[in-house]
């Protein structure tokens, strides 16, 4: 059972470089080296990200031109999904549920934590590897299997899960269930979640122990790069918030497969017939257990991104970050608060005013540390000499975009406006602003920033700028109209908004989003070309091309097994840029005087 292999880890390797050369499979496929595992996570999650994007492109056609056959590829989907090329509502729902699930659990988090966290964090703390390398490998493969399991949903009768990424009962329990055929997409979704959650749990144990135990000598907690702090807090969120969802997924599995009624109320009638559940359960129970995870999960989506952006900003302003301690305290406070705001996703479930007031209050409070972090990053720009390279462009764009995402969350966090905005496109606009020009831009910044450390070459600047400008313009054109579509009353998860007058009135805005999505997608092409071409043809650079201070730049390129030929000793903080009296405008952490 995966849960127990945390006991195993690389034994005492007192042999240094004398151990026998590993074969291809042990070196590149079943590797225990955090860097290889990081690259594996990156390749897999970028692929899932692309796939999730393709899913939503299908949806965007249906939204822009409801009932019209999908051009070119419409015929490929068969009668059960798109008869005559016209998307069925059930298939639309599957696309929506799987888009959300794939982007959150198979794309963004594995990229931010599994890829960036795994590759960069041990280097930044001066460690030879993670604390439990074999466990690390297991985390990746359990994630990989979970991803495959999730995808098989598309290929079983009835199609993939179609009850939203939130899988609310009772719909998720009755959906695609019959006494004869229970191995359906919705059930597969739950099985896939169990794998993914397990992978996350194993990974978070590894991250926390590594950061606590394997920091280089002299690297006290308040000398850690902010990226490491972000990964540290994120790991705690994953460790403690995911298990309730794992429990809930097991309960929902039981409801679907064993006929239990954990989430099924008594007397439920589905499509005119009595269900076969005895009842006595509570749909609200699922919502509580789901959001208990899913709220901290959205902080998991953003915190590592803030960490990446901080590194890029410090490096390209040639200044220390403004308010490092304030940033750290805000981060920790944010992590703690994220556990007590979850019911702001449930304001419309009929809760009383007392409970609503409590969660509205905590939600308002949690916006404070977010704003503090954003302000500190903005103030870090003041008086600096900004280098406008591609990573910095993405990092700079992150700031106002995250601000828009955060600010638009405020009316959602207050019960009164939430009455009008809940479950509308306004919500979709809000969270996509935070995740797309927020997290994904941070991911892009990280890729451009750390690519030279992984490959020894820089990504092409011109293609990078094309990618950047297209993405910024595209993302805003896709998601800004959604606020207005939502305020007009168009609900989310809606296959065809034009059946309602209020929806038809704003159909043009929806079409703008769809066209802009194509523009956004096309803007990724320079990036994809750049990513692959630069491996061979990119400009070769030194070990520290950005003239950065943090420890990952003190290794050879790419870092060898064991990372540091000599374990570094740290003498100073992480952002000693433009120190008065120093010979250069940066002093690396591991340099003595």
């Amino acid at each position: 059972m995966a849960a127990h292999d945390h006991h195993t880890h690389d034994g005492h390797q007192t042999h240094g470089h004398g151990h026998p050369e590993l074969g291809f499979w042990r070196k590149y496929v079943f590797s225990t080296d955090h860097k290889i595992i990081g690259v594996q996570y990156a390749i897999t999650s970028l692929t899932f990200l692309f796939f999730g994007f393709c899913l939503v492109m299908l949806m965007r056609w249906q939204l822009a031109f409801p009932g019209k056959p999908v051009p070119l590829i419409g015929g490929l989907f068969g009668e059960t999904m798109m008869p005559g090329g016209v998307m069925l509502p059930e298939f639309y729902n599957s696309l929506g549920a799987m888009h959300g699930t794939i982007m959150v659990f198979l794309g963004v988090v594995p990229l931010l934590v599994g890829a960036f966290g795994n590759y960069v964090m041990p280097l930044q703390i001066g460690a030879p590897d993670m604390a439990f390398p074999k466990l690390n490998m297991m985390s990746y493969w359990v994630y990989f299997v979970g991803g495959i399991v999730m995808l098989t949903g598309f290929f079983v009768p009835g199609g993939a899960a179609n009850s939203g990424w939130t899988s609310y009962a009772p719909l998720s329990v009755v959906s695609q269930v019959s006494r004869n055929m229970w191995f359906t997409g919705q059930t597969i979704w739950l099985l896939g979640m169990v794998f993914l959650i397990t992978s996350s749990l194993l990974g978070s144990v590894n991250f926390i122990v590594t950061i606590i135990q394997l920091r280089a000598k002299g690297l006290e907690f308040f000398r850690l790069p902010f990226f490491v702090w972000a990964q540290f807090v994120t790991a705690f969120l994953l460790l403690l918030a995911f298990p309730p969802l794992e429990a809930a997924a097991v309960l929902q599995l039981m409801d679907r497969v064993a006929g239990t009624s954990f989430f099924m109320p008594t007397g439920l009638v589905v499509s005119g017939q009595q269900g076969h559940w005895t009842g006595g359960g509570s749909p609200l129970l699922w919502q509580h257990l789901f959001w208990f995870l899913a709220h901290p999960e959205v902080y998991v989506l953003i915190l590592p991104g803030m960490g990446i952006v901080s590194e890029v900003i410090a490096n390209n302003t040639r200044k220390p970050l403004w308010g490092y301690r304030v940033l750290v305290y805000s981060l920790v406070f944010l992590g703690f608060m994220s556990f007590i705001v979850w019911a702001h996703h449930m304001f419309m479930t009929g809760m009383g005013t007392r409970m609503a007031a409590f969660f509205a209050t905590t939600t308002m409070i949690i916006s404070v540390p977010s704003v503090v972090i954003l302000t500190a990053l903005l103030l870090s720009l003041h008086g600096s000499c900004i280098r406008f390279n591609v990573p910095m462009l993405f990092a700079l764009a992150f700031l106002p975009m995250f601000a828009i995402g955060g600010l638009t969350g405020l009316p959602l966090g207050l019960p009164a406006p939430d009455i009008h905005l809940h479950d509308t496109y306004y919500v979709i606009g809000h969270f996509h602003y935070v995740v797309v020009p927020g997290s994904i831009f941070a991911i892009f910044a990280g890729i451009y920033h750390w690519y030279p450390k992984v490959t020894g070459r820089k990504l092409n600047e011109f293609l990078g700028k094309l990618h950047f400008w297209g993405s910024v313009v595209g993302a805003n054109l896709v998601f800004m109209p959604m606020f207005f579509v939502g305020m007009a009353g168009v609900s989310r998860r809606l296959y065809d908004q034009t059946v309602y007058q209020h929806g038809a009135n704003v159909q043009t805005l929806t079409q703008i989003s769809s066209f802009a999505a194509w523009f956004f997608g096309l803007s990724q092409i320079p990036f994809i070309i750049n990513f692959f071409a630069s491996i061979r043809a990119g400009k070769k650079v030194s070990d520290n091309p950005w003239e950065a201070t943090t420890l990952e730049w003190a290794t050879p390129t790419p870092p060898p097994h064991g990372n540091f030929p000599v374990i570094p000793v740290v003498y100073r903080g992480p952002y000693e840029y433009s120190v008065p009296g120093a010979s250069r405008d940066y002093v690396p952490q591991n340099v003595t005087a």
């Binding site: 059972m1 849960a3 127990h4 945390h6 006991h7 880890h9 690389d10 034994g11 005492h12 390797q13 007192t14 042999h15 240094g16 470089h17 030879p128 590897d129 604390a131 439990f132 390398p133 466990l135 749990l201 978070s204 144990v205 590894n206 926390i208 122990v209 606590i212 135990q213 394997l214 460790l239 403690l240 918030a241 995911f242 298990p243 309730p244 794992e246 429990a247 809930a248 097991v250 309960l251 039981m254 064993a258 006929g259 239990t260 009624s261 954990f262 559940w277 005895t278 006595g280 359960g281 509570s282 129970l285 257990l289 208990f292 097994h561 064991g562 540091f564 030929p565 000599v566 374990i567």
Partner: protein
């Protein structure tokens, strides 16, 4: 020391005072607390919502003597587990392995009793998870707990047989891994200490 070796796998970290495996195990147990906590939380919610209709005492068809017996079996297995570690700490591999084997034996008794004397009679008597939410919770909570016991049996079995080879090359490391396994095992016992009164006695 070679840079490829991982420090603090055996000797404790000078500042934190622990070796990495132990910290990792405690963190994992914290996540397990949240896992079972979610189930207990669900239990409270569903039970309070049911009011007086919730089966209690005789109506649960749960045998208190059997539950008590199983509780004592697990408690003894916790003792044998910690004695295994203590024996290894005192350098006695044979005694350590004997206690590990006893732990597995007791765990198997627990599982067999649960399966043969509790689950199967219930299924035969048409007391299924789908019958009502009490049974749903009973089977799910004890079932998940039993899966954890089986997992523990697998891990202890590994250290009893193939894993014991580590004693020859690095006895302290082996002892530490038994300590970590013990922590997990005591936690599983802990969960049962709460499950038993909640399900059988209230």
């Amino acid at each position: 020391m070679s840079s490829a070796a991982l420090p603090y796998t055996v000797e404790p970290h000078p500042l934190t005072g622990v070796y990495s495996g132990k910290l990792g195990t405690w963190l994992f147990l914290a996540s397990e607390v949240m896992l079972f906590g979610a189930l207990f939380s669900s239990y409270v919610l569903l039970r309070v919502g049911a009011g007086d209709a919730w089966p209690s005492g005789e109506a649960t068809h749960l045998s208190v003597p059997i539950g008590t017996f199983n509780t004592l079996v697990l408690i003894v297995s916790s003792v044998t587990m910690v004695m295994a570690w203590a024996s290894l700490k005192m350098g006695n591999l044979a005694k350590g392995r004997m206690f590990l084997a006893l732990t597995i034996a007791l765990a198997l008794v627990f599982i067999v009793v649960k399966l043969l004397l509790e689950y199967i009679p219930k299924f035969r008597g048409h007391h299924l998870p789908s019958t009502n939410t009490f049974y749903a919770l009973y089977f799910t909570m004890t079932g998940l707990h039993a899966l954890h016991i089986i997992g523990g049996i697998v891990v202890i079995g590994y250290f009893l047989f193939p894993g014991a080879a580590l004693w020859r090359t690095d006895p302290e490391y082996y002892t530490n891994r038994i300590e970590c396994t013990g922590l997990y095992w005591h936690f599983v016992d802990l969960v049962w200490i709460f499950l038993f009164p909640v399900l059988y006695l209230t």
